[in-house]
């Protein structure tokens, strides 16, 4: 066969087509305002060449001066400060095999480890992690927080909520072990681009090293900051200058001008391995298993708004089976079906939007609840990082 014919045949092959709704789903995802990269100010034609040259020269001179001044102040002309200072700490902590850490964190029940519970009391969080010992090895991890236990025994994950006597099972690791892995903390700090972090203090004496950094939070588009990444924050790292192992970590968030301690490393033990017993979870015989159920095909294509509507409709009509399709927590379903909390009317449903570091979307809604007809406004949190990639309720009520 000649090349020409083969090329013609290849060009004529059709690729598979998506569902007919995909186009409209994509259109619904167009944000109200797109980030505009360029100023749309005065058109170029009114600029004469001499004027352009003068402005360009002026701008260049100002930029160079500012760059030099800022650079010398921040020490930007050597290798990046944070990466440099923490290089031996990163190397030492990277050699660790297992760790047991205890932290005190400003988190709260029902939220994940990065939620900042402003005004609350610090909670104890304990973690044991065994890092993978070689390629293909999964490692093991367990984290205990007041209201939940996360356990990955090397084969599967279990989240257990003792108060609700509810458990969720998964095949993979479930959560990122980096959250409690000292080498990952150091790696992260070293990876922050120089322009996004400010070195507040650095010293090494008496066998101890310390580095204090300031970092900007991600914009949350009108929402109150809730997760660590949403806040402007300050991080203090301490290490032993002989072993170079990390010995301390404190993180503060800035809220309304106040510096609030978010988390503090209470203790850290570097280990060879973790006792098998730690990763053995004995759950009560009557534990209720939750999770995202397999849904029929027509449910998979639903966008967040449609899911929110069906979620409220099912709760309103007391349809437990449908409600369980959109809400993986049996205890949440029970709560929603109680007369006092049951939605009676969906008054408003806005456009889904993303905010901060939350991996899902928020759907603004106004709902009438219970016998007294109380009206409340929520940002219903929905996420689709489940095995079916479909939207399900994650919180907000």
């Amino acid at each position: 066969m000649r090349d020409k014919e083969l090329k013609k045949r290849l060009r004529a092959l059709r690729e598979p087509a998506p569902s007919t709704e995909l186009g409209s789903r994509l259109e619904r995802g167009i944000p109200d305002t797109l980030r505009q990269p360029e100023s749309t100010g005065r058109p170029w034609r009114v600029w004469t060449m001499p004027k352009l040259a003068a402005v360009a020269a002026g701008t260049l001179a100002t930029t160079i001066t500012l760059w030099l001044v800022t650079g010398f102040i921040l020490g930007l002309f050597g290798p990046p400060v944070v990466a440099n200072v923490l290089a031996p700490v990163a190397a030492a902590t990277d050699r660790i095999q297992a760790v047991h850490v205890v932290l005190r964190m400003l988190t709260r029940e029902g939220e994940d480890f990065s939620y900042v519970n402003l005004g609350g009391e610090p909670e104890r969080v304990e973690a044991w992690i065994e890092w993978p010992q070689g390629p293909g090895e999964p490692g093991r991890a367990r984290m205990d927080k007041t209201d939940r236990i996360y356990n990955f025994d090397g084969t599967g994950t279990v989240f257990y909520h003792p108060k609700r006597n509810e458990a969720f099972q998964g095949r993979g690791r479930g959560i990122d072990h980096d959250l409690f892995w000292p080498a990952a903390w150091v790696r992260y700090l070293r990876s922050i681009p120089t322009g996004e972090v400010e070195v507040v203090e650095h010293y090494e004496n008496g066998g101890k090293g310390s580095l204090v950094l300031r970092q900007k939070g991600a914009p949350v588009d009108g929402l109150d900051p809730s997760f660590l990444g949403d806040f402007d924050r300050e991080i203090e790292v301490e290490w032993n200058t002989d072993t170079h192992l990390l010995t301390g970590l404190r993180r503060w968030v800035y809220h309304k001008g106040q510096r609030v301690l978010f988390s503090e490393l209470e203790s850290i033990d570097y280990l060879e391995s973790v006792d098998d017993e730690i990763f053995r979870l004995d759950l009560p015989g009557d534990v209720r298993w939750g999770g995202v159920k397999d849904a029929p095909i027509e449910v998979l294509a639903l966008g967040p708004r449609e899911v929110a509507i069906r979620f409220f409709e099912a709760a309103k009509s007391g349809d437990r089976e449908t409600l369980e399709l959109y809400c993986g927590s049996p205890s949440m379903v029970d709560w929603l079906l109680e007369e006092a909390h049951r939605p009676t009317e969906l008054l408003f449903l806005g456009e889904p939007f993303r905010g901060g570091n939350y991996p899902g979307v928020y759907v603004p809604c106004r709902v009438r609840f219970g016998k007294e007809g109380r009206v409340k406004e929520y940002n219903l949190a929905l996420r689709n990082d489940n095995h079916q990639r479909r939207w399900v309720y994650d919180g907000g009520i």
Binding site: M1, P18, L22, G23, R25, R35, G136
Partner: protein, 195 residues
């Protein structure tokens, strides 16, 4: 970029929502098809198409450097696909290869109503090594130039050209082999038929 594409880029960069709709209309089939070709199942490919456009809206400013709108979108789609692959397979760090699929995607075939000849060609493309397969998919199925294909794959246009050249050679050999097998089968059937 052609004149109409430049105009669309200009409108996109100004935040024109109609231009966004046009970008979806023009290219979402291509993005979806490419993701299917990379090995994503239908629902995953649709999700990734959504993610691709969501990221595109946030990255309008990177459009300036793109070889074309289509290659820009396909680059984002490719990154999203491999990123997801890495997230799913945390132990397979640095895995940059396409998923190993003998017949690249039986699902792709089942969705199409092809002639026998097209099916054979599609099957033959699926037997190419992943790097060649992807070059063929971008250059022929997505109609990208060598330069645009290179910008999606992050390789020089010359490398694309040589991959395409190799792919065509291997495809020709595979198709000739299939044809020879058919011939032999026909001959055996004719010999077995009572005269």
């Amino acid at each position: 970029m052609g004149l109409s594409e430049r105009n669309l880029v200009r409108r996109l960069r100004k935040g024109d929502r109609d231009a966004c709709r046009e970008l979806i209309r023009l290219h979402h089939h291509g993005v979806y098809g490419y993701l299917r070709r990379l090995g994503a199942q239908p629902s995953r490919a649709e999700d990734l198409t959504q993610e691709t456009y969501a990221k595109a809206w946030r990255r309008i400013e990177t459009l300036r450097d793109a070889a074309s709108l289509r290659s820009w979108l396909l680059t984002i789609a490719r990154n999203e696909f491999f990123q997801r692959l890495r997230v799913q397979r945390p132990d397979a760090e640095g895995c940059e290869d396409l998923p190993e699929i003998e017949d690249p995607d039986p699902g792709v075939e089942s969705e199409m109503i092809d002639s026998e000849r097209d099916r054979e060609l599609r099957r033959a493309v699926g037997r190419l090594e992943p790097a060649l397969q992807e070059a063929v998919a971008l250059h022929y199925f997505q109609d990208l130039s060598y330069r645009e294909t290179g910008s999606v794959l992050g390789i020089p246009a010359g490398t694309v050209k040589s991959r395409i050249h190799r792919a065509l050679g291997e495809l020709r050999a595979l198709l000739e082999q299939t044809e020879a097998d058919h011939e032999r089968q026909r001959a055996e059937e004719a010999a077995a038929r009572p005269s």
